[in-house]
Symmetry: C2
Subunit: 230 residues, 2 copies
Amino acid sequence: MKIGILGTGVVSQTIAEKLVQLGHGVMIGTRDKQATLAKTGKDNFGRPTFSEWIKNNSKVQFEIYSEAASFGEFLVNATNGFGTMPALEAAGKRNLANKVMIDISNPLDFSKGMPPTLFISNTDSLGEQIQRTYPELKVVKALNTMNAYIMVNPALLPDDHNVFLNGNDVNAKNEVKMLLISFGWKEKNIIDMGDISTARGTEQILPIWVRLSGTLQTPIFNFKIVVGGK
Amino acid sequence: MKIGILGTGVVSQTIAEKLVQLGHGVMIGTRDKQATLAKTGKDNFGRPTFSEWIKNNSKVQFEIYSEAASFGEFLVNATNGFGTMPALEAAGKRNLANKVMIDISNPLDFSKGMPPTLFISNTDSLGEQIQRTYPELKVVKALNTMNAYIMVNPALLPDDHNVFLNGNDVNAKNEVKMLLISFGWKEKNIIDMGDISTARGTEQILPIWVRLSGTLQTPIFNFKIVVGGK
């Protein structure tokens, strides 16, 4: 499958590596290629710069947003929250229409320091905002509730744990489910929450995620829903 | 121990039953005793009316808020979110001072139908509001992230799962921890998140809780944090 990924950070890179491993064609999109390649300094995860990374991952194509969106039969939004709507605008409505997009973004606002707040929450969500703005795009919010390394390698954790799907289109959710299963997710651990408005819940789990990562002193954890006998 | 519980709903009743079972003296407080006793009709949980319940639980004393707060050496806030601040005002500042209070309330607003929204969230929490208003009260937010039956019987679920503590006072959190252990909680499953501002995270988990209870078609579930090897 040809997959376009919007965004160039750790989530984008981790997903891209996994997709290449699985044999997919992958193109990462950014706003300004030269600016992205010129970025210096390690990120918070101690990873190499993007320019080093892309050199070492030569099977991943790298273009501007509109190219990546046009290339992808299937899309992944791995931009940060504030970057999401501008990235989609740059991608172009025509390049988004009738495609399935996994939306991994979170409306986190770090501008006032730690802990972050949410710049959309409670009565709306970033997932809903995307779906409203691009009604022909099939948005499936998923994977936004965990660290990137767990997204593509659920066996990193010593027990079962869950990933949540939020989206209006049942077929789109099934496509995402199949992709997640190819990432190593067990079908029973994929919870379809319902329509895109359920993204309010998965996005509002971020504040406890952020505080837990401090308390546990690791980002390598996830939520498991333990259900009682019926 | 003499424990005062504010509120008369399913959470209050379930906690009261457990505390009596454990040998504590329990007084439930309400705004207006006659009004509470006059309530007819089952609640959403198919439980008896409060007047029937209190008749069958004769070891539980039943008085107005200020009496229950005065009686308790240790307090439990089991009012609903909108009822919390008025209940504490009625309880009286003097009756709250220097006491530990488990705050189980959630700022849920059902006034616009389902799903509920939060009437405080993101940049503040009900837990913080209580602590700010009553600085001499030692607020420990806990148990608000699960169904009442699980609060007092964690073994209801077939696997380990977690309860979160949010509060400024370390000794108060230890007292709450001891009480939770007496309820059947394993110490390793009690996560101290930090100061009361971490209540933003545990209160904002309610939107996903509500949607999950619909998806799973049961309220008998809880969150487990699965942590990777370090």
